[in-house]
Symmetry: C2
Subunit: 425 residues, 2 copies
């Protein structure tokens, strides 16, 4: 009998991967956590970095730091190139390989453009810190370009913003952009009135926040409109290019279009060689295991697991629960037992619409307005990792909600009239 | 008599340009402040961003926001391409032009490599937020590369760091790098002991902090050595390339070399067509005016002004005082009077060597150790613009000095084994 502890490889340091890693802290296993970035990201607050309300380090923490005391885990910075499930070997981009006894793939989701990948450069999505910094730059530069424009048509196009997708991310982005235009930038320009900017939210379905109860959807819509957002429902954007977009057959010149409409699973799902759903997510069994591959599990946004006839949604609490469950499943499998079935506990839904307004759905208990906003604030702050982050985020928030100011309005790189590029490599 | 107020154009929103702008707030002039970046940067704390102790927005604030209430100023984001002093016209890179009645050039300094510009890609300097983020990435990635290296020689090269230049910037960088290696990253790696990293500070002159009194220089050196920094004086680096550097005829394989050894004036000095000193700074008269050009003034690091036989140093307090003086000079000139002569008030010198250690020279009053560090802390915090920034920086500092933790250890962009690129355009 070998004394070498089993090697559990976990790919992805987001909510699912990190929760799985930590849940195995006391097990007699050796864990390698692989991620192509050095940090765990608190994605629910990414829209704050994108709208210059928080700085990037406020919502991210280095994985090595989070896991420093967990002696059975090693963090490996790298990108997966291949998965050989027969030989139980993971190949990394740098040419090295990891042999595993158990594999957990938790690489999440990325943007999807409904078959129109050519829209991607003109309508950036929001899934990583680099995305957020790119959007921040784009939004701040739009006002700069408008200020410097001589031609009225050009100026109008720079003051035209669109957010595509009326889920929580789109609602949060649109509401915050409206606050920036109406309040934050007040008095700062001499040739434009930033409050004249048009912020439009486009949702193809009949209502925004379609996964929320109707009453809260309506409340969110009213709040957005009160903030000055032009909410369009029941129409899908037909085309997007560098100069604008097409909606309802009409072309709208708009230099800033942001994408919050669709996600697709990480490409790593395809490397497993098993059936995927339409979004590229891996169909897993009730124990989150991959059918036919007893050593492989998938957790988080990459997993498609049905419950009561519906897929478990790609939200943070679901990812965390799946991560914790996979740890139990791995433990069972290693002990030769049958892994338990996963049961998602839906804790409710929440989204913020801007300063001191939010909607919260806790299974029949609905909160709106200021109480909802306080609840949303505390939930997000509590779930942030690290006390210092919580304190700093609280202060930044208190400050910006008191003063409408946003503290991270810094544009990196040169700021010229050339098309802005995002600060990634 | 024209009723149009005179147009004062100020190029550069750093200490000198911003102080000049604000000093003219109540004058009957129209001011355009031109900068190629959207923010004012608190440069003395740049090394904190470079060493992941603070995030970029903590030490920078948008110029538009700082000046929003000053009705006689307009902020223009742009880069100067030409200066026609005869026609009193400033040409910008985007093809537009600004006609001025008075011109203040305050574009500061950049890195200089003593005729070895080929060293620049291998030994980045620290003058802007982009520089700081690039250095941060490079330093954090060096430990990542060391962790992943199989070859012991490669691992050793990744754990070999050099800072060239023993002035305040070099001392602050080296001391902080040593703290990161010895304390911050403790326990976070499994294949390396970050405390084994060698941090070397190379100063060509006989002592570090050469502009400080000898006793404080010695104190700084002792403190650095206590932190584990290898301080080398009296030797200049002879060559730098991608794999290492040459010192005293010996080649040292080192993958991270940082440059804090020389500054040169901004290239805009050359556009004025007047005599420059060896570092490219503009020789100005006692009133900070450009000889032969009564409408042009230069302030800050770009100005070479003699006082008591020595040039006024390129430090923050000097830049602020020059900025304030140029406002007085412009006012006098517009009134047909003789502008007063500039007199620099040297308030002393201060530098920090790391956690709770600093040296402070206030004209005979010397502070060292903890009292010096408290003084340094309060001076820097007081001079930061913006109450919120001060509060957040204080908290971050308190946290990191209490715990040795650094809050901004985030690597932007992909983290692969390919040579890291800096997040600029």
């Amino acid at each position: 009998m070998s004394h070498v502890p089993p090697h559990v490889v976990i790919v992805g340091g987001g909510f699912a991967g990190l929760w799985a890693t930590r849940a195995l802290a006391r097990d007699a296993v050796r864990i390698t956590l692989v991620d192509r970035r050095n940090h765990h990201l608190f994605q629910p607050l990414l829209y704050q970095v994108a709208t210059a309300g928080l700085s990037a380090p406020d919502i991210a923490a280095p994985l090595r730091h989070i896991l420093r005391r967990q002696r059975n885990v090693e963090v490996r910075l790298g990108e997966v190139a291949s998965i050989d499930t027969g030989g139980r070997r993971l190949g990394l981009e740098d040419g090295t390989a990891l042999d595993y006894d158990m594999l957990v793939v938790a690489t999440g989701a990325t943007h999807a453009y409904f078959g129109h990948d050519e829209w991607a450069p003109h309508a950036p999505g929001l899934k990583s810190l680099d995305d957020a910094l790119g959007i921040r730059r784009r939004v701040l530069m739009a006002f700069e370009h408008a200020e410097a424009a001589d031609d009225p048509a050009e100026r109008a196009a720079w003051l035209e913003f669109a957010v595509v997708g009326g889920g929580p991310t789109g609602v949060e982005l649109a509401g915050t952009l409206a606050e920036i235009a109406r309040h934050t930038l007040k008095n700062e320009f001499r040739h434009i009135d930033p409050a004249q900017a048009r912020i439009r939210l486009v949702e193809a379905g009949p209502r925004v926040l379609s996964t929320f109860p109707e009453r809260l959807s309506e409340d969110a819509r009213r709040k957005l409109e009160k903030l000055g957002v032009d909410v369009v429902t029941g129409h899908a954007v037909e085309a997007i290019d560098a100069e604008g977009y097409v909606l309802g057959g009409t072309r709208v010149p708009a230099r800033t279009v942001l994408w919050a409409a669709g996600v697709a699973a990480s490409p790593l799902g395809a490397l497993l060689g098993v059936p995927l759903d339409r979004a590229g997510r891996v169909h897993v069994g009730p124990d989150l295991g991959v059918p036919g591959q007893p050593e492989v599990f998938v957790a988080g946004d990459l997993a498609h697991v049905e419950q009561d006839g519906r897929p478990v949604p790609g939200v943070a609490p679901a990812a965390k629960q799946m991560g914790a469950h996979v740890a139990r499943a791995v433990r069972a499998r290693l002990a030769g037992a049958t892994p338990p079935a996963f049961r998602y506990r839906d804790m409710g839904n929440l989204a913020t619409i801007g300063r001191m307004a939010a909607v919260v759905d806790l299974h029949g208990l609905h909160l709106r307005g200021l109480p909802a906003w306080w609840f949303w604030l505390w939930v997000h702050v509590l779930f942030l990792i690290g006390f210092r982050s919580r304190l700093v985020v609280l202060i930044n928030w208190a400050w910006s909600y008191w003063s409408y100011q946003r503290h991270a309005r810094i544009i990196f790189g040169r700021s010229t009239r050339a098309a802005p590029r995002t600060p990634t490599d």
